[in-house]
Amino acid sequence: MKILEASKIYKSYGNKFNKQEVLKGVDLSIHQGEFISIMGPSGSGKTTLLNVLSSIDKLSNGSILINGQEMTKLKEKQLAEFRKAHLGFIFQEYNLLDTLTVKENILLPLTLSKTSRTVANHKFKEVAEELGIFELQDKYPNELSGGQKQRTSAARAFIHEPSIIFADEPTGALDSKSASDLLNKLSQLNQKRQATILMVTHDPVAASYCSRVIFIKDGLIFTQLNKGNETRQAFFKDIMRTQGVLGGIQHDQ
């Protein structure tokens, strides 16, 4: 089942006189249960693509269907409504509220959807245990390690069982051990809950956990790799190779 279908999306910044086209007609579709990563050189428009797809930023042109709902037609308030029901977010700089405890942070999406307290508690227990942070529930973010923070962030993204989870360089600030920990958890959740994840990353290792890798360059999709039945190691090598080509082209310019 297609969860997300984006066609011919354009995005430019600046005004009439000083315009910068960042996305130049990206087509993309995502099926339920996919774990996708987006890679590409710095400044190629990855974050922009993610923001546009997740309705945080406005499109200049094109259409985005999520769960059959046309996003570009929604008003500010409806978008907020949509985000809270259907989307989950994980970001590079943790994005936890420092005045809330781990549990309070994780429960935020349920607070918004006015889920009953008992159901909320039940869901919290489930997801927190899966991510191994149940014991930390009463701690404040500044008492956590980077990896723990990021797992908290992930728990918050998963708890309300959104249609898609968007993650922008979730492992960017983590050491390799915490990063692989997190990625293992993410792919576990992806398998177990059939959760759909779209992740931007610079790290080929992180990308190798995914089922599909999309490379973008200069605002267009350059190529895609499918993992298929390959092992993670083999997939990793493929990614490295493609990245080399991508980087090489960039240098030739």
Binding site: A80, F89, D98, L100, L108, R117, N121, N142, E143
Partner: protein, 642 residues
């Protein structure tokens, strides 16, 4: 870019942040200038002559300087801390400290002296209004002429220049002392680390609440008869003050956090939408501002309290005068009374005259006094006695007695029961109760004791048995009431003319009430303006704190909006947060002043509620403006967060 361009750019960029600072600066310099103008104005002599106004105005203007100086220094401190990163950056790109200091000083100079000039201009235009207001409140009749006073201008300039130099000095030290690295850390080090509530904080929280309640409790007992000597009374007041102020400090330091912690604990991690923004943020931030909030609360309470008391006194001037002077004009000497009535007749002013015979009799109040004050006050009391024929609607039989016209103030010290036995001249009478009416003037009642009313027969007997040692020089009260109250002013004019030369206790109710209005009006005027300045400056400081906080919390709003919080959700949370931020100090200040006023208001007048509520409402409304401004600022921050 030349440094001049840089200067103007910076100024333009910062002007929006500074707008309220500029406003407060204009406001306070305007107020100061008009005060000093008042001080040097010849038309003030009229007011000064009767009420020692000059000293009061001078004291007020010194206090005004103190408030304004502290405010400006504090605000400057906030701003320079907020801009420390910018200062560090400028150093990083190669500007030296001297250049940066000059840049900052020049920027400040334009802002500061620009506002000062506007302030002086506004102050001058409003000083006539202010003096008119003063005359209106105090009832002083004088023409409000006003000239521009160079002395006032000079004094204002000198004072504000000194404050400016002080600010510059502090900025200089700030820039000199901080290394670039430290500059980048300044903002983050002022906010404390977010931690769990410790046991110590819980203790502080509980002790704080306890101390405040203790202070309130003692204050309610202050004039109830538990503290009888001056030393005890003084000690009690010191204890109240100490325990309330320390309690307030601990309240901000621990109680808020403790209470909010309990609330949050009960929620078990599941916060409501608006609590996400309000509860947790207030919980952590109030603690680091404990000292500031304590000062604001205490001074607000002081201002509200003083204002209420002087307004109570002003408001009850007429009633107090009525209690003390039992007719429009009262005499104790027949000749003086008749001189006055003749004048009234000549000028065609109608009046009613009554004379009442009063004798002083020893009384034993011990059977009807409520409470445990024994001793001189109750046993050896001398009360004025009149016959029931003097009062139309009262007719008593020989064994009965009624008391009438008991001063509110004294009632607080010796409370009387409704019925019981009363001994007059060592004879037992049945006491039938207390009437409100004041029958004779303060001269006979020693300033506020009730008058005993007995049967005519008993009264004649008392007259023959009267103890000459305790009688007043005069035994007759002459009361003159003007029939047409429109002529009262005219009559009073004659009274003042005739009685200016003759001495002896004779009184005009109008004079007494006007006198009190003048004194209290002046007091009110000064306290109100000081209070207003304090309100505006402290409101500004809270507002600045909030604008800083909103910038710091902007990333949080970004996250929340990404998660699907609407702007409205966040705004509701922010409104609730402002309700706490501004409401808690306000509410605490109101409570403090309420208990302070409640404990001793009867020393000042006879009406508690109306004047106090008027003052409190006014303060609340003005104060809320700053809360609304903060919400408005947050609205913009939230809108721009995504």
């Amino acid at each position: 870019m030349t440094s001049k361009q840089l200067l103007f750019r910076n100024l333009r960029k910062n002007l929006k942040n500074y707008s309220l600072y500029v406003f407060a600066l204009i406001f306070s310099s305007a107020l100061y200038f008009s005060f000093v103008t008042l001080q040097y104005d010849p038309s003030m002599d009229a007011a000064e002559g009767s009420i020692k106004g000059a000293a009061a105005i001078r004291t007020a203007s010194i206090l005004l300087i103190a408030i304004v100086a502290i405010f400006l220094l504090y605000a400057n401190n906030l701003f320079i801390k907020r801009r420390s990163k910018e200062i560090g950056l400028l150093q990083l790109v190669g500007m030296n400290k001297g250049m940066i200091f000059r840049l900052l000083s020049a920027e400040n100079f334009m802002l500061y002296f620009g506002s000062l000039l506007i302030g002086i201009f506004i102050g001058f235009s409003f000083s006539k209004l202010i003096i008119l207001l003063l005359f209106k409140i105090t009832g002083v009749e004088s023409i409000a002429t006003l000239r521009f006073s160079t002395e006032a201008l000079l004094q204002t300039l000198i004072v504000f220049c000194m404050i400016y130099l002080l600010i510059m000095l502090i900025n200089h030290l700030f820039i000199k002392r901080h290394t670039i690295l430290a500059l980048f850390r300044v903002t983050s080090s002022t906010e404390e680390q977010i931690k769990k509530v410790t046991f110590l904080e819980m203790m502080m929280g509980i002790i704080g609440l306890f101390l405040i309640v203790l202070g309130y409790y003692i204050s309610s007992k202050l004039f109830g008869g538990d503290f009888t000597t001056i030393t005890e009374l003084f000690l009690a007041m010191v204890i109240i003050l100490g325990s309330v102020i320390i309690g307030t400090y601990l309240f901000y330091k621990g109680s808020i956090r403790f209470i909010f912690h309990l609330i949050r604990k009960r929620k078990n991690g599941y916060l409501k939408v608006n609590e996400v923004v309000s509860l947790s943020s207030v919980m952590f931030r109030m603690k680091s501002n404990a000292l500031l909030l304590t000062i604001i609360t205490t001074v607000s309470a002081l201002a509200i309290g003083l204002l209420s008391l002087s307004y109570i006194s002003y408001y009850s001037a007429e009633k107090t005068a009525k209690d003390y002077v039992a007719a429009d004009f009262s005499f104790t000497d027949e000749d003086q009374a008749s001189t006055f009535t003749e004048t009234l007749n000549e000028n065609g002013i109608e009046f009613e005259e009554r004379s009442t015979e009063v004798i002083q009799v020893e009384v034993d109040l011990s059977h009807i006094s409520d409470g445990d004050i024994e001793g001189d006050l109750v046993e050896g009391t001398v009360l004025p006695v009149v016959s029931d024929t003097a009062i139309e609607h009262i007719d008593l039989s020989s064994g009965e007695v009624i008391l009438s016209g008991y001063n509110d103030l004294l009632q607080n010290f010796i409370r009387l029961k409704d019925t019981g036995a009363l001994e007059l001249n060592n004879q037992k009478f049945t006491y039938l109760g207390l009437e409100d009416e004041f029958i004779v003037s303060g001269y006979f009642t020693s300033g506020g004791l009730p008058v005993a009313i007995v049967d005519e027969e008993v009264f004649t007997k008392f007259v023959t048995e009267a103890n000459p040692d305790i009688q007043k020089p005069s035994n007759t009260f002459y009361g003159i009431d003007i029939t047409n109250k429109n002529q009262l002013k005219e009559a009073n004019h004659f009274f003042n003319e005739i009685m200016a030369t003759s001495n002896g206790p004779h009184e005009s109710q109008l004079n007494l009430s006007n006198n009190q209005k003048t004194n209290m009006g002046f007091m009110m005027f000064i306290v109100a303006f000081l209070g207003l300045t304090f309100l505006v400056t402290s409101g500004c400081i809270l507002y600045f704190k909030q604008t800083g906080e909103s910038e710091e919390e902007k990333p949080n709003y970004t996250v929340l909006r990404k998660l699907g919080f609407t702007q409205n959700d966040l705004l509701k949370g922010v409104q609730q947060k402002q309700l706490f931020n501004f409401g808690i100090p306000l509410l605490l200040g109101l409570f403090h002043s309420y208990f302070a006023v409640k404990s001793g208001w009867f020393l000042f007048g006879s009406e508690l509620w109306t004047p106090m509520i008027v003052v409190m409402l006014l303060y609340t409304v003005l104060y809320s403006i700053f809360g609304l401004l903060s919400v408005n600022y947050y609205r913009k921050v939230i809108r721009d967060a995504l």
